[in-house]
Amino acid sequence: MSEFNPRILVFSTDNVSDPGIDLAGRNKMHYPAKVFVITLPCSSAIKPRWITHALRSGFDGVFIAADGSDCSYVPDCTKRTAAVVGSAQAQLKEKALEPARVRMAAVCSVCAESFQKHMLSFSAALRKLGRADGRKVQGGGHGL
């Protein structure tokens, strides 16, 4: 049987973390192939229901590559994004999914290596958790 390769959805920000992720690709750094990136202006605008929706739709983990203190929109971006993650994790718990399927870290515009490491360790952690069986998650919005 082939090895389980977790599908990871990454939310990145267009000016800060996205160039860093892009750079990892340009430098041909190896990280799991089942990483999919969606870019937005600011991580604080992510809705917790998007995260549950992603896990219900076939992703095994969601990673938020946040700007941290580098955010150009809101000074308390880290706090707001952390609240999004907290709320998403609470929702996951209710649906009997592991909160560890959501991770958040600051990724700068050249943090290609750090992004690669995050993806490798997150993928390894998700492998231990196994598939996020979408059927367990009931309800939730259709925000994506």
Partner: protein
């Protein structure tokens, strides 16, 4: 007032001033000439002495400047002029340079970059690697928008009357994209195979590479893609377009002009019917171009490119009346009947059997009538292409002797010189400066041709020398056949009553729109211009179709610009781009003259794919962008716009901050150091790129051979503190950035030796001296002594000759495998251009002058204009930011003062 303040330059200082002023609530216009903000700092590896990552700390600032509610950012824009408005404010003209990308639509996906077929040196990586012409400046670019580099229209493309993008299809061939190359030609002309063989290639004559040798064989490359494509696609891959128009069009004549017009009209969705008087379509292509130049199966296949769109061709259908066509329901009619009427010599005996006109002769042969000229003597009179074709055809029919007789000299022959040379090689005898005066018969057939020698006299009104007969010079020769090919004229007799004609019998049509006096009636091709080239007829057919379409849609013909294009690229600028242009010589091959005169098979042999690739590789991409259209086709947002042009806007602003930054000293000016000549002598900015997180390679290498350097030298004060290059000042940052790079190199290459040659080390800022001591302790060698000369050894290593001050000034030489020139800082001339009246004064080193430097650091010679950052002189990053902060504060104070002014 449009803006409270305009900040010119969005490097770290400009961004700092703009964000500070924006935070204070002022409306800021931030203008940057590059496609991305960030200046030089974003391209650096780390900053000294903290070794923070330069791009990590720049990008948030860039994002902030770009997304700030009070800042309007204009990238890829240049301030053209600023004038004081007399009441304390300013009027600024800002040009938005054409990026050929609609920034509002571009999402930064880079699909255009992947599709682009031309590479150029990447200036953001200091030329160490290449980038595509359609590109996003660098991965951290803000805004992340693509830009196309265009230096004009390439001369080949510009020269083509049909607007075929020669540079574009060559670029596609170079990529091995033969089908796409064919499609690109087809976008501009339906008769790809014909043009690939029988075009007289204006493009080739204009090719810049013709000046230095190894020019790509442009027409033959076109033939290659046509052959390649037709061999794989016996029929076009498309059918009629989905677009349907309710108006019908008739085209009279199925020559190149008519076919071209029909093709473009059908692509717009019009039902088009072509009326052809002859039994087969193609006009002159079929009736007067011999098979050895243009096989008729190629013409047939070319025509199917037109008919596949649903165009109906009615052959043997001469049109007697244009107005009847109109009555039959055609909303517009194009007349493209060519110039099929041969001119006569008007000499006695011209009506004798055995005297034929050039096109009669060619038509007879091409329509399959067997003419046996074995053992016959043939004279062809004329100097044009029809004459040459007739002469070469006569040879192929077995003629024992073929003379081409022309009344002027060889240089004045209107025929293609290539064709004349080919005729000569095949055995056609050329006779210049003589003209027949009579054809004499025997038994009712031509027997002798009597001619006179001619001499040139003063130029005619058309600029060509006239010739007149030399009295008493008459001579005679025996010939069995005379072919008179002295020109063609229009034959519009039947339609004459319905159209206004020019004095020479051609049809009068508006030169731009090709509309005749009757609005529904257009005319194109030789019928309008008189005899011309195939490609010109195709171009006119296309032009007519453009205006017919506008007219049929009820639009005014006044506004429409047909085929807008950039001015032609400057050849001298193209040749100045590179020091040398290595090329591979690729000659097209042809059948031996002795062989080819035996039959009508093609003379030119086709390129092999390898030859085509090699010939295309010699293209210089004169326009930089080849206009291959791949980016336009790849863009999912439809953002590529080749018709974008510069737009100049005017703004009223309350104050100006000049943050135009600095330039790095051009290291090639230090001739003794060999920068630009020795591959392993690089500038410090190149080294910064090699060690930056966004580095072009994932390791440090020397450019000469890609080896990892083990013994690296730094030459401080390259182009600063040096009167010989007129830059006596200290650049302040070179010592420290060199120390920074030395530390980074020791991290990346732990076994490397690093030597820093210096006059002295200037480490005066906060933490700088400690940084110096730390660098020393890490094992970096410091040699006090000025470098006199660098020379290159075999294998690429470098000999550095220096004066060792610590050893009583002994002159020594040391070998290194990589030399880094720590180049100084010089003033940017942009700041001097901003104020056309010269009111912004500069100091003796051409930096923006600071009249109140001690207490008023940002004040300039103009009230209301402030300076920020290195526009005023060399500064390190923290000082540039401090200065920019001061500029923001002083600007705010000025704005507040002006508000309170009564």
């Amino acid at each position: 007032m449009d803006y409270d303040v305009m900040v010119v330059g969005a490097g770290i200082a400009g961004m700092e001033s703009a964000v500070s002023l924006g935070d204070m609530g002022y409306q800021v216009l931030l203008v940057e000439k590059e496609p991305s903000i960030g200046g030089k700092m974003i391209l650096l590896s780390k900053v000294f002495p903290t070794l923070d990552c330069a791009s990590c700390i720049s990008t948030p600032r860039m994002a902030q400047a770009a997304s700030h509610a009070n800042i309007d950012l204009r990238v890829f824009s240049e301030v053209r002029e600023i004038r004081a408005d007399g009441s304390g404010g300013f009027r600024a003209r800002v040009a938005q340079k054409p990026a050929f990308v609609d920034f509002a639509k571009c999402t930064g996906c880079q699909d255009c970059e992947k599709a682009c077929t031309v590479t150029v040196p990447d200036e953001y990586n200091e030329g160490l690697v290449s980038r595509r012409v359609a590109h996003i400046a660098f991965p951290q670019a803000v805004p992340k928008k693509a830009v196309l580099d265009r230096a004009g229209t390439s001369p080949c493309t510009f020269a083509c009357p049909a607007g075929i993008k020669a540079n574009g299809y060559i670029s596609l061939i170079r990529q091995g994209e033969f089908a796409k190359a064919f499609q690109l030609v087809l976008e501009d002309a339906p008769l790809v195979g014909t043009l690939g063989r029988a075009c007289y290639a204006f493009c080739q004559r204009e090719c810049t590479r013709e000046e230095i040798g190894d020019a790509p064989h442009i027409r033959h490359l076109k033939r290659f893609v046509a052959d390649w494509y037709y061999a794989r696609h016996a029929e076009p891959e498309y059918g009629p377009t989905e677009k349907k128009q309710d108006k019908k069009v008739a085209v009279v004549g199925s020559g190149p002009a008519g076919l071209s017009a029909a093709f473009f009209l059908a692509r717009e969705g019009y039902p088009v019917t072509i009326f052809e008087a002859d039994a087969e379509a193609g006009g002159m292509l079929r009736s007067s171009l011999p098979d050895y130049r243009l096989p008729k199966d190629v013409v047939d296949r070319d025509i199917r490119n037109v008919t596949a769109l649903g165009v109906e061709i009615r052959t043997s259908a001469p049109v007697e009346s244009l107005s009847r066509l109109r009555q039959e329901g055609y909303d517009a009619v194009l007349v493209a009947i060519g110039t099929p009427k041969p001119r006569k010599l008007m000499v006695p005996g011209e009506e004798l059997p055995g005297v034929l006109s050039g096109i009669e002769f060619l038509a007879e042969v091409l329509c399959g009538q067997k003419l046996d000229l074995r053992g016959k003597r043939v004279v062809v009179v004329g100097g044009g292409n029809v004459a040459v074709d007739a002469a070469r055809t006569a040879l192929r029919l077995g003629a024992a002797k073929v003379v081409l007789q022309y009344r002027r000299s060889r240089a004045e022959m209107p025929a293609s010189h290539e064709e004349v040379a080919a005729a000569e090689a095949e055995g056609v005898e050329l006779s210049f400066l003589s003209n027949p005066v009579a054809f004499a018969g025997e038994n009712g057939r031509l027997r002798r041709v009597r001619s006179m020698r001619m001499k040139p006299v003063a130029a005619d009104s058309d600029g060509r020398r006239r010739t007149i007969p030399i009295p008493g010079s008459e001579f005679a020769a025996d010939f069995d056949l005379a072919v008179v090919a002295v020109g063609l004229s229009a034959e519009a007799a039947a339609l004459r009553r319905e159209m206004r004609l020019n004095r020479d019998g051609t049809i009068w049509a508006d030169a731009r729109t090709l509309q005749t006096e009757a609005p529904w009636l257009f005319a194109a091709g030789d019928a309008v211009t008189g005899p011309a080239m195939i490609v010109q007829a195709i171009g006119l057919g296309k032009q007519a179709s453009f205006f017919m379409d506008r007219w049929l849609r009820g639009e005014s013909l006044e506004g429409g610009e047909f085929a807008p294009r950039l001015p032609v690229a400057d050849k001298q600028e193209v040749l100045a781009r590179q020091a040398e242009y290595p090329g591979r010589s690729v000659e097209k091959s042809e059948r031996h003259p002795r062989e080819r005169v035996k039959d009508f098979a093609e003379v030119d042999l086709p390129f092999t794919a390898a030859e085509a690739l090699a010939s295309a590789a010699n293209c210089l991409n004169c326009g930089i962008c080849s206009e291959c259209q791949e980016c336009r086709k790849a863009c999912p947002a439809d953002a590529i716009d080749f018709d974008q042009r510069e737009k100049v806007n005017e703004y009223n602003v309350g104050a100006v901050v000049v943050a135009t930054g600095f330039r790095l000293f051009p290291a090639e000016l230090m001739e003794n150091f060999g920068f630009g000549r020795f591959a392993n002598v690089i500038s410090a900015m190149q080294m910064d790129r090699l060690v930056a997180p966004t580095r072009p390679f994932n390791y440090v290498l020397r450019p000469g051979d890609g080896k990892t350097p083990a013994n690296i030298a730094y030459v401080l004060c390259t182009g600063s503190r040096d009167r010989t290059v007129n830059n006596p000042i200290c650049s302040r940052v070179c010592c420290m950035y060199s120390l920074k790079q030395a530390q980074l190199l020791l991290g990346a290459l732990p076994v490397a030796d690093v030597t820093i040659y210096n006059i002295d080390i200037r480490a005066f800022g906060k933490g700088y001296d400690e940084f110096y001591e730390q660098t020393r302790a890490m094992g970096v060698r410091f040699v006090k002594g000025k470098i006199a000369r660098i020379s290159e050894k075999d294998g690429g290593n470098l000999l550095v000759r220096y004066e060792d001050i610590d050893d009583n000034g002994t002159v020594r030489e040391a070998e290194h495998d990589l030399v880094v020139l720590s180049v100084g800082i010089v003033a940017h001339d942009e700041c001097r251009r901003l104020f056309a009246d010269g009111s912004l004064t500069v100091d003796e080193n051409l930096f923006v002058a600071q009249p109140g430097r001690q207490v008023d650091p940002a004040r300039t010679s103009i009230p209301g204009v402030f300076s920020a950052g290195t526009a005023t002189g060399p500064l390190d990053i923290p000082d540039a930011i401090l200065h920019a902060g001061a500029a923001a504060a002083q600007t705010a104070a000025y704005l507040e003062k002006m508000k309170r002014k009564p």
